[in-house]
């Protein structure tokens, strides 16, 4: 029985981790679609998840503020002034990590 319950726990843990990954993928996909459709107007553009959007000239200061408004709307976040930093917003990876952190802070 012990072995069986261990397996159940593992299954539950795996399912939770799968759900978490699926939710993260969903966030990542939404962010990617927003940048491709709303910022790049659907022009085909190779968009590396780790690449700097500022260096590539995809986000300028107005674009950054549009992105901030999108994040607040789409994910129910409050983006404070001190959050508007390249570390949080300069790539799809960074944006996704920021959404996760900001979401957790909001739940606390």
């Amino acid at each position: 029985m012990d072995a069986f319950s261990d397996t159940t726990d593992e299954l539950v843990a795996t399912r939770e981790s799968d759900e978490k990954t699926a939710a993260e993928d969903d966030v990542r996909n939404k962010v990617r679609v927003y940048i491709l459709d709303s910022i790049l107007l659907g022009t085909s553009e190779k968009l590396d998840d780790g690449a700097s959007l500022l260096d590539a000239g995809i986000l300028d200061s107005t674009g950054t503020m549009e992105l901030v408004a999108y994040l607040e709307d789409a994910f129910g976040l409050t983006v404070f002034d001190q959050d508007i930093v390249a570390d949080n917003l300069d790539s799809i990876d960074r944006i996704c990590a920021f959404i996760q952190r900001a979401g957790k802070t909001a739940q606390q």
Partner: protein
Amino acid sequence: MTVLYAVSRDARTKPFGPHVLDIDYGAEERRIETFLSQSVARGLNRRGVVVGVSGGIDSSVCVALATRALGASRVFALLMPEKEGSDDAMERAKRLCERLGVTYAIEDIGPTLAASGAYARRDAAIRQMLPDFGPGWRHKIVISGMFDRARIPHFHLVAEAPDGIRHTMRMPTDIYLQVVAATNYKQRIRKMTEYYHAERLNYAVIGTPNKLEYDLGFFVRGGDGLADVKPIAHLYKSQVYAMAAHLGVPEEIRRQPPSTDTYTLPQSQEEFYFALPYPQADLLLYAMNNGVPAESIAPALGLDLEQVATARADFAAKKKAAHRILRDAILITDSEVGAESPQADAVQ
């Protein structure tokens, strides 16, 4: 090793600092005057120049140089106040024109601004953030987040109620864009007025940006960015002040701090755009244009290396924006539509 910024003997012996901007103002004045008369007469085939004179340092230097280059009778100055501008600046502009002996006209652009809805559209945008905003309130836009960790610049509205209470709020993008777009009517209507007089007189229009403004895009497309000849676009702001002293521009103009005179609360250019006082901004831009390393820039500007990196990135982004504001419309014959700066790249 090549010292790229060695413009004088001093530059090799002294550490990088404001002295790199030292030039011979007598020689520079003659060079600009020759350039002005030749480009107006031969390059543009016009008989004189129109200059919008604001009472600020740049337009004062331009009108003084034009008067020396072409003679007072070939310079037509335009003073274009509106109800939100500084009365003192207009008085200074008037006194300068009288002193130079140039003909000037006063064109109040307020009624045109009102008829075009400039004030109403701007106020409507602000009321989305501040429902009480209206007559008696004053406001300005300030840039935030430049030197505070790697913050991305963004804009705050500062609004002062008639009772003196100030509100400072981050501007949502759509409101920021509408406020700027509505406010830009001021620069565009001034430019339309300058061209009316220029065409009537067969004159050219002088654009008054200095190098800091020109390189970093501190002007409005179709507004103050539009002109036939820009005689001080190669002079850093500190050099414009020094040229003003050399030309004998009255001290009442030279001692005024640079202001946008665009919003109803007093607003310096650095709080709206450059994020650095102009002596520092000049040096940073000079350093970027001349390959001066960050290690030499930091002590001269009183910044640490991280702040220099942030400021350089910001200026680099502004340079890109400047190119977009100035460039001609993109044609289908341009080989690379996505290219930021095909001509500039070719020159470099």
